[in-house]
């Protein structure tokens, strides 16, 4: 089994002395849907940003399918797509222009993916907004656009920070369906979320991060057994985080 992602001994301290990561290590195998959960300020977003080369760790390294993000940034990121925590977009591009822009960066011809693009646009109810400037869309709509862009590039690794924030239930359902489809065709997903119910039902493996360290990891069943047979992921999470 190949490793889709390897995070090795990541340390990160922000200017001002805030220690975000203190030796975080984890691996994700190909075909997994990995849920990263943790309290606010635990280091989830920092982990995801380091994974995508948006931050430089003080120590440690990241490998995406064996390619180092620090040493071989372009080659590594070619295999990955990212949905940021906040829905930031090119506000003066239309939905269609934005999607074309992102796919074009990877030499993907629009004609080759037009059917898939239309499927995603329809699934996320974006058809009527195709020619709308992104500045005029709501937060939930922007989230759908960013997720669409992340799916369209057919990545081998999807790194998503709170991808369902602001999405309506219909879009959430469609999102989960599409992630499962991509994973079944060989992709891998790393999802950071606060929605523990979703993580419990949707992810194949879960990691709990607290104070910059991975404090528990395993399948949902394995994690739940850490407390008792009847515990929910929420109860286990609270027990681990509160010590």
């Amino acid at each position: 089994m190949k490793y889709a992602l390897v995070l090795a001994d990541l340390h990160k301290t922000y200017p001002g002395g805030v220690k975000a990561l203190r030796g975080l290590s984890m691996t994700i195998k190909e075909g997994e849907i990995y849920g990263l959960i943790g309290p606010n300020g635990a280091g989830k977003s920092t982990t995801l940003k380091i994974t995508m080369g948006l931050l430089k760790p003080d120590k440690g390294g990241v490998l995406i399918y064996g390619k180092s993000v620090m040493k071989n940034r372009v080659e590594a990121l070619r295999l990955a797509s990212y949905v940021p925590e906040n829905p930031v977009v090119f506000r003066n591009l239309t939905v269609k222009e934005f999607l074309r822009f992102i796919t074009g960066l990877r030499n993907i011809k629009w004609e080759e993916i037009i059917d898939y693009a239309e499927h995603l646009i329809e699934g996320f109810n974006l058809s009527e907004k195709e020619n709308t400037m992104l500045s005029q869309l709501s937060r939930g709509m922007l989230q759908k656009v960013l997720v669409t862009a992340a799916f369209l590039v057919r990545p081998k690794l999807m790194v998503m920070d709170e991808p369902m924030a602001g999405m309506d239930p219909e879009a959430q359902h469609f999102f989960k369906h599409e992630v499962k489809k991509l994973v079944s065709s060989g992709a891998t997903a790393l999802i950071s979320s606060h929605l523990l119910d979703m993580v419990e039902r949707f992810c194949t493996r879960v990691g709990i991060i607290n104070k910059g360290r991975l404090v528990a990891e395993g399948t949902v069943d394995k994690i739940k057994k850490m407390a008792s047979e009847e515990s929910s992921l929420e109860e286990v999470f609270l027990r681990i985080v509160k010590g």
Binding site: M52, G53, L54, L55, K56, R73, V74, E75, A76, L77, R78, A80, S81, Y82, P84, N86, P87, V88, V89, F90, R91, N92, L93, E97, F101, I102, G104, L105, R106, M133, L146
Partner: protein, 521 residues
């Protein structure tokens, strides 16, 4: 290995996002563009179809410029020296290279090299202003009005573009140098040494030293030289080409430096917000909503060490500049009129406008919170107006310290209190307009962390209104400055006396307006 296709592809979309689409979506901008273009064409036809134009604004202003010992050459050096001061300030502040959040989070998470992004960014900066904005066409009109020649007007417009590009590019270049070499202090000291050498040389020779023109002179000349009729059109075109060549040269150096750029050298603009709020959280005692709001929005902003130190530095700098100017330029006969009626109100108006942007970005960031929890919006309005009014008075102090030393007329300081009620009125206008604009969704959220700015054209109109008002007040100050000293002093006391009731009056009205409008922020 950088990929040219990707670089050009990214540049195209950056230009589209930054310049083309925003321009095309603004119908008012397009109409203005058509009107200005038509005006330029009509004037060009008129100009070339008659033997010779009459006296131009520049012809009229020439004796005044000469009385300040200013010509195209010395003016270029003077502006260049101000840009050196700005460069020193930028370097001391040590800002990283800021990107828009989407460029950082979305674009840099794509498989592109950081060097490729930087080069694409540089190209987009070089190309973006070619998509002419109404502001630049307005510059062409100004150029034509001053020189009476439409062709020179167009050259002024291109000169303005080159100056803007040049300053942006030089700033990026120095930031890259600091980031790559780590020798920030050395670079700052070099610029200070350059400035001091230029000042010393100027004082010794009694003229503007060419040393003060390094490195900005070629790009500043692009804007100044088209105004001078002593330089032929071919000469001006050559100057523009030289200016652009300097920018291209700096761009190439910046591109080479960006080859080794690190992700930590770049920062999303949300970080600006964090910087703005640094050191905020004043100590606030429990009290009435009014006292809490005033201490948070007014007292803590004015009576903090950082602000007071900055004010002191600016006052000393203004005094030194006034002294220097007297040595270098002498005092022309009509200096009162020029400075007090035009220069001072423009500077105070611009300062107030800049500070009101800060109010939008920082003080009213939590507008929703005030509207939800404040019993009454009047104290919010009152505190913000007080802050802006005090800022106007501070701007007046800086101006008049410089001017009184320049013109050797210390009693000018007695006109400063006039700017307190004027500042209250100006701030009130700003705040009413801001509330109205916010209700019409004419504010732009720049970052997810909450920096807002006012949309372009309305912002310019707002600035003009406030400057015109300050011109009126300055006119009054100018009139009173020729009266006996007791009259001047009584005017000052009356201004202070009238300020408090005026503040209470406008804060009530604006508080109601802020409650009434469905404000977006």
């Amino acid at each position: 290995m950088m990929r040219l296709r990707i670089i050009l592809y990214i540049s195209w979309y950056l230009v589209k996002n930054r310049a083309i689409n925003p321009f095309l979506k603004k119908r008012s901008g397009q109409i203005l563009l058509v009107i200005i273009t038509a005006l330029l064409l009509v004037n060009a036809i008129q100009y070339y179809s008659r033997p010779m134009a009459n006296k131009t604004i520049l012809d009229a202003a020439r004796p005044l410029l000469h009385s300040f010992r200013l010509n195209h050459y010395t003016l270029t050096i003077l502006i260049s020296s101000f840009l050196i001061i700005y460069t020193i300030y930028t370097l001391i502040k040590g800002k990283p290279i800021y990107l828009r959040e989407e460029e950082y989070e979305v674009l840099l998470s794509q498989p592109i090299g950081l060097d490729e992004f930087m080069l694409a960014n540089i190209i987009s900066i070089l190309v973006s202003p070619i998509i002419l904005t109404p502001a630049f066409l307005g510059l062409a009109l100004v150029g034509m009005a001053f020189t009476g020649d439409p062709l020179r007007g167009v050259l002024v417009m291109f000169g303005g573009l080159i100056l803007l590009l040049g300053t942006i590019m030089i700033e990026i270049l120095f930031k890259l140098v600091v980031r790559k070499t780590g020798h920030k202090l050395l670079l700052v000291m070099s610029f200070i040494a350059l400035l001091l050498a230029g000042i010393m040389h100027s004082l010794l020779t009694g003229t503007y030293s060419v040393i003060l023109g390094i490195p900005y002179m070629p790009v500043v000349a692009c804007l100044v030289y088209p105004f001078s009729k002593s330089i032929s059109l071919t000469g001006v075109a050559t100057i523009l080409l030289l200016g652009y060549a300097e920018i291209v040269g700096f761009s190439l150096i910046a591109s080479v430096l960006s080859r080794r750029i690190d992700i930590e050298d770049l920062s999303p603009r949300a970080a600006v917000n964090v910087r703005l709020l640094e050191g905020e959280m004043p100590h606030i005692k429990y009290g009435s909503p009014r006292s809490i709001l005033y201490s948070y929005l007014f007292t803590s902003r004015i009576l903090n060490k950082k602000h007071l130190l900055g004010l002191a530095v600016l006052i000393v700098a203004a005094g030194a500049a006034g002294f220097m100017a007297r040595r270098l330029m002498g005092i022309p006969e009509d200096a009162d009129e020029v400075f007090i009626e035009i220069f001072v109100p423009m500077m105070i108006g611009m300062a107030l406008y800049t500070l009101s942007s800060h109010v939008l970005a920082v003080d009213l960031r939590c507008y929703w919170l005030y509207r939800t929890y404040a019993i009454d919006m009047a104290p919010v309005a009152g505190a913000v107006i007080s802050k802006l009014a005090v800022n106007s008075v501070e701007a007046a102090i800086i101006m008049f310290v410089g001017l009184s030393l320049y013109m050797n007329r210390i009693y000018l300081l007695l006109t400063i209190p006039y700017y307190l009620p004027a500042g209250i009125a100006g701030a009130a206008i700003q705040l009413i307009t801001l509330s109205y604009q916010a209700s019409k969704r004419q504010v732009i959220r720049e970052t997810t962390a909450g920096i807002y700015t006012v949309e372009g054209l309305t912002a310019v109109l707002l600035e003009i209104i406030v400057i015109v008002m300050f011109m009126g007040i300055s006119g009054l100050a100018f009139y009173l400055s020729s009266q006996p000293l007791p009259v001047l002093a009584i005017g000052g006391i009356a201004s202070i006396a009238v300020s408090y009731p005026l503040l209470r009056f406008v804060e009530r009205i604006i508080g109601d307006i802020m409650t009434y409008y469905d404000v977006l922020i």
